[in-house]
């Protein structure tokens, strides 16, 4: 650049083709997390949903069912507070709370740090409860083996059509709070077919953490995963 007037004499344009993932750094850390999990024989589950879809309640019900069979641990992601971690701690399960300071998703680096805090614990199944948000967490790979997206009955059966990104990259679609089906116009078949249109390989399970309906199918899926 010309030092007198800042004009562009002596400079040229150069185009570089990158074709590089914007989140390459996160992908790199996610694959490190994955390796870490695999070395320790741990299966990691990433739970994604809007706020209030029942992620923590599902975890409480799942822990009650499985804790005598499979040693578990939980990483809780929230913008603020330890509230969710306290709910899990009451169940006697090791838990690390990650507060993102207002950020709308967990990233692989946060999970990496949280996982180190669980180093002394022995467990086979790790639940990562993402920040309540159906948009942002879907872009961030955490190194998980299974990505689960939840929609609760009060949210409406057209959610998969409104938030396709969350379903596109998920493995399991859980329809939660089915005990409320008599009180809402939620069409189970519609929710299922909209989600399968985006991602035909999704496994869909409808359940209620409160009544226990459908919970066994979910727990069996987890047992199968852990026994490999």
């Amino acid at each position: 650049m010309c030092e007198h007037c800042g004009c562009e004499a002596g400079l040229k344009r150069k185009e570089i083709t990158l074709e590089k993932n914007i989140l390459e750094q996160n992908e790199h850390l996610a694959s490190k997390n994955r390796k870490h999990f695999d070395e320790k024989g741990i299966v990691a589950i990433n739970l994604i949903s809007a706020p209030g879809s029942g992620k923590t309640s599902l975890l409480e019900a799942t822990i009650a069912q499985l804790r005598d069979e499979i040693p578990l641990a939980v990483i809780e992601g929230d913008p603020e507070t330890e509230r969710d971690a306290e709910r899990i701690r009451r169940q006697g399960v090791p838990v690390v709370q990650v507060t993102t300071g207002g950020a709308c998703h967990l990233d692989a680096a946060q999970v990496h740090r949280a996982f180190h805090q669980l180093e002394k614990e022995k467990f086979r199944l790790l639940f990562i409860e993402n920040v309540g948000n159906l948009l942002c967490p879907s872009a961030f790979n955490l190194g998980e083996h299974l990505r689960v997206v939840l929609v609760s009955v009060p949210e409406g059966s057209d959610k998969p059509a409104k938030y396709p990104a969350a379903f596109y990259k998920a493995d399991v679609f859980l329809i939660t709070k089915t005990d409320l089906l008599p009180y809402f116009d939620f069409d189970l078949d519609e929710a299922k077919s909209l989600a399968l249109k985006i991602n035909p390989r999704l496994r869909v399970i409808a359940l209620s953490a409160k009544s226990g309906q459908g919970l066994e199918e979910w727990c069996q899926l987890l047992r199968d995963l852990v026994s490999g």
Binding site: L11, K12, L18
Partner: protein, 115 residues
């Protein structure tokens, strides 16, 4: 909502490359997003404009966004297809697996470098 953090990640990546290349300025950035990437184009542009204000290297940079339509793969017929409605293989009618559509990619960058 996470467009701002994506712009930051992209900026870091490009700044690193600019340093390697001895570039004085970034003139143009081309990104491509998959149909199911969850990116709001306007929010990304907005976040990029905000980012430019605080980043001298990017002050004059233009942003171009390309969208990649979703493509599915049929494991049975071993072929890719672009569905219009449900992602069913046009040949065997069985559901395909997601193949393209989740991309968040920095495609090209144009720098101003010493001649």
């Amino acid at each position: 909502m996470h467009e701002a953090s994506l712009v930051m990640a992209m900026g870091e990546e490009i700044a690193r490359l600019a340093k390697e290349q001895g570039a004085k300025k970034v003139l143009r950035v081309v990104v491509s997003f998959g149909q199911w990437s969850g990116i709001e184009k306007e929010a990304f542009c907005f976040a990029f404009e905000a980012f430019k204000k605080d980043s001298p290297l990017f002050k004059e940079a233009d942003l171009e966004i390309e969208l990649i339509p979703a493509v599915y793969f049929c494991p049975l017929c071993q072929q890719e297809f672009s569905p219009e409605e449900a992602p069913l293989c046009p040949r065997c009618k069985l559901p395909g697996l997601p193949s393209k559509g989740g991309e968040l990619e920095i495609k090209k960058v144009e720098f101003l470098v010493e001649d």
